[in-house]
């Protein structure tokens, strides 16, 4: 079972596998693979812990229910599946600062954490604003030939590439 325990697969193999998963999701569940909605749901569930049921009256949460759903389980599954993959290949390691970041900005965790937090906030806003992320639009939407997804995905990468270049080439 060496193919399960090696550290890296060909990106084509991983991609083909993900494409096949998209067939299965539609076939078995009439659902498409997407990840950002679950973050809205979890955020709503957490907010509900603090502010009670009136959170459910918010227009956005009437549209996107703060509940454990198929897509929510999918994102939970991603954490588990990645963990399994990392463990069987002996790659699991707690790490605060990625190498590429450290090479430019140094090894201290706090600057990286603050940056990651800001990036996360922007990404959370952007994903929900666009109605999907690189999974929901970038893979599921584009394979369905949805115009919204092609537009959004191009914008993801235009924005992402420009910003990365700014961060690493200019600063």
């Amino acid at each position: 079972m060496e193919w399960l325990t090696i550290a890296r697969w060909s990106p084509y193999a991983a991609g083909i596998g993900i494409g096949i998963l998209s067939w299965l999701a539609l076939l078995l569940s009439d659902k498409t693979i997407g990840c950002s909605t679950s973050f809205s749901r979890t955020s709503g569930m957490i907010e509900r812990l603090f502010r009670g049921d009136r959170v459910l009256d918010k227009p956005y949460y009437r549209k996107v229910a703060p509940a454990v759903t198929w897509d929510w389980m999918l994102v939970l599954g991603i954490v588990i599946g990645s963990f399994i993959s990392t463990r069987v290949s002996g790659q699991f390691q707690l790490q605060w600062v990625p190498a590429t970041w450290a090479a430019t900005f140094g090894p201290m965790p706090l600057p990286r954490l603050i940056t990651a937090l800001i990036g996360g906030i922007l990404m959370g806003v952007g994903a929900r604003w666009a109605g999907g992320c690189t999974s929901g639009h970038g893979i599921s939407g584009t394979l369905q030939l949805a115009a919204s997804s092609w537009v959004a995905t191009i914008c993801f990468f235009v924005g992402g590439i420009a910003t990365a270049m700014l961060i690493f080439r200019v600063f």
Partner: protein, 184 residues
């Protein structure tokens, strides 16, 4: 097709199982890694694009075949200039600053990356909550601007889906082959 598998608990289990496989494949593919994602956005490492395009080619051919067989239906998302372009660009900025996307940040957590957990996941949850809060104010002035609905490219071009699927699959495969040839 298998909507007879409608029982909620079974469906939740299927969602979980597909997620586990997805997380496994993302990790094996290398895309749960900040260095790989940032490498892509700096156009130095094309792993992310290779994974995504392979998934899209495989996905579009299989899904449209299943659809022609009457076994699945499509769920295209609605869009507008105000949502797809503006939201897409904001996402892009966050994507580069964080160095993970919502799916890969979850995978990165599974891999032990603590910046993904304490920075990325927390931030994304905050951002999602922030959007939910301002959503009613954004709806009319921005989100609905340039609305084009849940249209697909074949519908826009008024052709049979395969008239777009086949050329798209060929084009994307050609891009992958070219990238390999170019040593990217």
């Amino acid at each position: 097709m298998l909507k007879t598998l409608a029982h909620t608990k079974i469906q939740l289990a299927i969602g979980l199982a597909i997620g586990v496989l997805f997380g496994f494949l993302l990790q094996k593919g290398g895309v749960t890694d900040y260095d790989v994602i940032t490498g892509q956005l700096l156009l130095a490492d094309f792993t992310v694009l290779k994974v995504m395009l392979s998934a899209v080619v495989t996905g579009t051919l299989g899904v449209h075949l299943l659809r022609s067989l009457g076994l699945v239906r499509l769920h295209p998302k609605p869009g507008s200039l105000g949502t797809s372009v503006v939201g897409g660009l904001i996402f892009g900025v966050g994507f580069a600053v964080l160095g993970y996307c919502p799916g890969t940040v979850a995978g990165a957590v599974g891999q032990g990356f603590l910046d993904a957990l304490f920075g990325g996941v927390v931030g994304t949850l905050l951002g999602a909550g922030l959007f939910a809060a301002v959503y009613p104010k954004l709806r009319k002035p921005i989100l609905s601007k340039g609305d084009f609905g849940a249209v697909t490219l074949p519908e826009l071009l008024q052709v049979n889906a395969w008239a777009v699927v086949v050329p798209a699959a060929i084009l994307l495969t050609a891009v992958l082959l070219w990238m390999e040839r170019a040593g990217l």
